[in-house]
């Protein structure tokens, strides 16, 4: 028995020594991402390249997937955060993140900050400080099924079209028996994306100082936007999504059940795979105001208490280099130079995504302005849903959301 014991202890010791030895030989950089599938594979490829350029460094890619925030929060709570991580919710995390301004200024020759559109950089800024580098983005567009348009003899959308144009076109596709519609409106849109329509109609959810919602979220211009979508549902110009049914607009569009579909880069690959000919139109405008788009931006940040801060910055720099940005084919390049080099700013499919970026620089998303926004947003989401269910009364529901949210504004 004693022999057995010493053997076990001996081998345990040997194992731990071996473990320490490998840890010393390789510096391990932890990188957390929410992506899965193809997007994850791209990031792993970028990590591999980084390892090749930095012998002795191992990048441990940690795909948290669903529940990313829960896992990240747990890691921060336990005082063991990853060195580098995907980030979008800066108001929630910025106190635990490293401010990058000095590093960007120091290495500006490499980074070329001017190569990054200002609107994208703004999504990573809190109180004037930069806490992340944008790594991929998308704006919103309207995909349309060219074959359905040709068959129905409807003129395809063109630049500068308005919501009235969209509604007129959509009405022509309505087919009761085949359950075919011209467009789809979401009864439960992500309020983050929905704000683009308020911007396009000259209003916003919350004042720039983050202290007022009365007169913004429930303004006449906001109610008009929401009322319009409810009206489209009532007149059956559009099918209403997510009213007790989980069938998404992507499924309907890919199946030829809707002719136009407002979405973003994240659906493009699947639409390509559906195998019909489609076009991409910019978001419609309200009258002669320019259309704005919500910005879906993923950024990468460094934890304030990162185990390897210098190495982490090297990785962030590499992740932001033209080489890495060009590898990211699942979203849009965050560097103007890369987009131009790939000819995307001229390609008819990609052009609308980039065009709208220029007008979307002027507004900041509501969640960047108020720390309690996620709670306020849930009241707002309920007002939108209520309006879509009742197919009207936008103003009353928005007033109610404002009333329920006032206590959260302090």
């Amino acid at each position: 028995m004693p022999d057995m014991k010493t053997t076990i202890i001996g081998s345990l010791l040997a194992l731990s020594v071996a473990g320490a030895a490998t840890a010393r030989a390789e510096e391990v950089l932890r990188f957390a991402t929410w992506d899965t599938g193809e997007s994850l594979a791209i990031q792993q490829a970028i990590a591999k390249k980084f390892e090749e350029k930095h012998p002795g460094v191992k990048v441990q890619v940690e795909p948290y997937a669903e529940g990313y925030d829960q896992k990240l929060v747990a890691a921060f709570g336990a005082g063991n955060p990853p060195d580098v991580m995907y980030m979008w919710n800066f108001p929630q995390y910025y106190t635990s993140l490293m401010s990058l301004d000095e590093l960007i200024a120091r290495d500006s020759a490499e980074i070329k900050p001017d190569d990054f559109p200002e609107g994208l950089m703004n999504t990573a800024r809190i109180e004037g400080k930069t806490y992340g580098m944008p790594s991929g983005f998308t704006t919103q567009v309207v995909f349309y099924n060219k074959e359905m348009f040709a068959k129905a003899g409807v003129e395809e959308p063109k630049e500068g079209w308005t919501w009235d144009d969209l509604r007129a076109k959509a009405a022509k596709f309505r087919d009761e028996a085949g359950k075919v519609y011209g467009f789809a409106v979401d009864a439960k849109p992500d309020p983050y994306d929905f704000e683009q329509f308020l911007w396009s109609n000259g209003t916003k959810y919350i004042s720039d100082d983050g202290k007022e919602i009365d007169g913004y979220m429930n303004s006449d211009a906001a109610a008009a936007v929401l009322g319009m979508f409810a009206d489209m549902a009532r007149k059956e110009e559009a099918v209403t999504l997510h009213l007790g049914d989980e069938t998404g607009g992507d499924t309907l569009f890919q199946g030829g059940k809707i002719a136009m579909f407002q979405s973003a880069m994240w659906d493009k690959a699947d639409i390509d795979a559906a195998g019909f000919s489609y076009g991409v139109a910019p978001l419609p405008t309200f009258g002669d105001r320019p259309a704005h788009s919500a910005l879906g931006v993923s950024a990468i940040s460094i934890a304030k208490d990162a185990a390897h801060p210098n190495l982490a910055w090297e990785f962030v720099k590499f992740f932001s280099s033209p080489e890495s940005v060009a590898m990211r084919v699942n979203d849009l390049p965050v560097r103007k130079s890369v987009a131009e080099a790939k000819g995307m700013t001229k390609d008819p499919v990609y052009k609308p995504f980039f065009d709208i970026l220029a007008t979307s620089n002027t507004e900041r998303h509501a969640y960047l302005k108020n720390a309690n926004w996620s709670k306020i947003q849930d009241n707002l989401a309920r007002a939108i849903e209520a309006t879509m269910i009742e197919q009207g009364n936008a103003k009353a529901h928005l007033d109610d959301a404002v009333k329920r949210s006032e206590r959260l504004l302090k």
């Binding site: 929060v73 929630q92 106190t95 007790g244 309920r382 849903e385 269910i389």
Partner: protein, 319 residues
């Protein structure tokens, strides 16, 4: 000499006591995994969450002591608190009686069944084996507005089915029905109880000419008392903790009509990362469930009979 004579047995006593200690300690050693588990995974977190409930506790960033502020703003300011609690109470008020009555009926049916009772017992119990997510997937197929099984069945008889999960007045009912799917567990407990009732009681009653309904009322139900009370309390607890089905099937919608109290706590913790506030909510739920259980126990003492229990005769009770 005396001293030595005394010393001898003393050693013996000590030795015996040591052996006794060993004997008394052994059971605790055997259940020590459970004790450790209880201390670290139940009692520890319990005390921890009570502490948390007095703090403004974001997961990332500064924690500050706020005293009873979380409880105050929950009771005084937060409309979501009242609404979610009310929905949970409504749910419990319908779910609990249905769960027990239907389980009892099924148990009686199986108890008296003469044909393939083993088979049907399995069939009725099977659904409660299915885990939450799979269960929800099945029900979302059943309830789907356009492609659902339920509305397809209705269409066969010419009824245009409603939007079960999309209509605020129907969604809660839909969740209750889906929750009742798991009543096989309750049924099994009651069935075991039925099997344990001595046959002699019924034989004696039959010989004395007591009709069936009276046997049910005066033998079966009283003898099932402890089982009924147990299932009653566990049903109340599970009704108040209802989360999985609503979270996955309706996400609390439409219009918050299925936004249960447990989901309110969940959102505060894992959506808004307001851990202190969520902990306070959990303790409110604990207080409610504890109170309800105590009320039920106290009230049940009047009509539940435990075997071996000696009761004062009627005359004594008056005195």
């Amino acid at each position: 000499m005396d001293m030595a004579a005394h010393a001898e047995p003393k050693v013996d006593v000590v030795r015996r006591r040591r052996a006794n200690v060993g004997r008394h300690l052994a059971p605790f050693l055997f259940i020590s995994p459970w004790i450790l588990g209880f201390l670290f995974f139940t009692l520890g977190p319990l005390c921890f969450s009570l502490t948390m409930s007095f703090f403004d506790w974001p997961v990332v960033g500064e924690r500050t002591f706020v005293g009873l502020d979380n409880y105050r703003s929950m009771f005084m300011e937060d409309p979501q608190f009242r609404e979610s609690l009310w929905i949970t109470v409504k749910f419990a008020a319908i779910y609990v009686p249905f769960n027990i009555v239907m389980s009892l009926l099924l148990a009686l049916l199986l108890h008296h069944a003469t044909f393939a009772s083993g088979f049907f017992r399995t069939v009725f119990y099977l659904p409660s084996v299915i885990s939450g997510v799979a269960l929800v997937t099945i029900w979302s197929w059943i309830y789907s507005r356009e492609y659902g099984l339920l509305n397809f069945m209705l269409s066969l008889v010419g009824i245009d089915g409603p939007n079960w999960l999309g209509d605020p007045s129907l969604a809660l009912v839909a969740i209750i029905v889906a929750s009742l799917w798991g009543l096989g567990g309750t049924m099994l407990i009651l069935l075991t109880g039925l099997k344990a009732i001595p046959k002699e009681l019924y034989e004696a009653a039959t010989v004395s000419g007591v009709p069936g309904w009276a046997q049910m009322l005066f033998i079966t139900l009283p003898m099932l008392g402890p089982m009924l009370i147990f299932t009653f309390i566990t049903s109340i607890i599970s009704a108040f903790q209802q989360l999985t089905i609503a979270l996955l099937l309706t996400k609390g919608g439409p219009l918050g009509s299925t936004y249960f109290f447990a989901m309110y706590i969940y959102d505060n913790a894992f959506k808004y990362f307001d851990m202190g506030y969520a902990a306070a909510g959990s303790w409110v739920m604990f207080a409610i469930v504890l109170t309800l259980s105590l009320v039920v126990m106290r009230w049940s003492a009047a009509w539940v009979y435990y075997e071996g229990e000696v009761r004062p005769a009627d005359g004594d009770r008056d005195a």
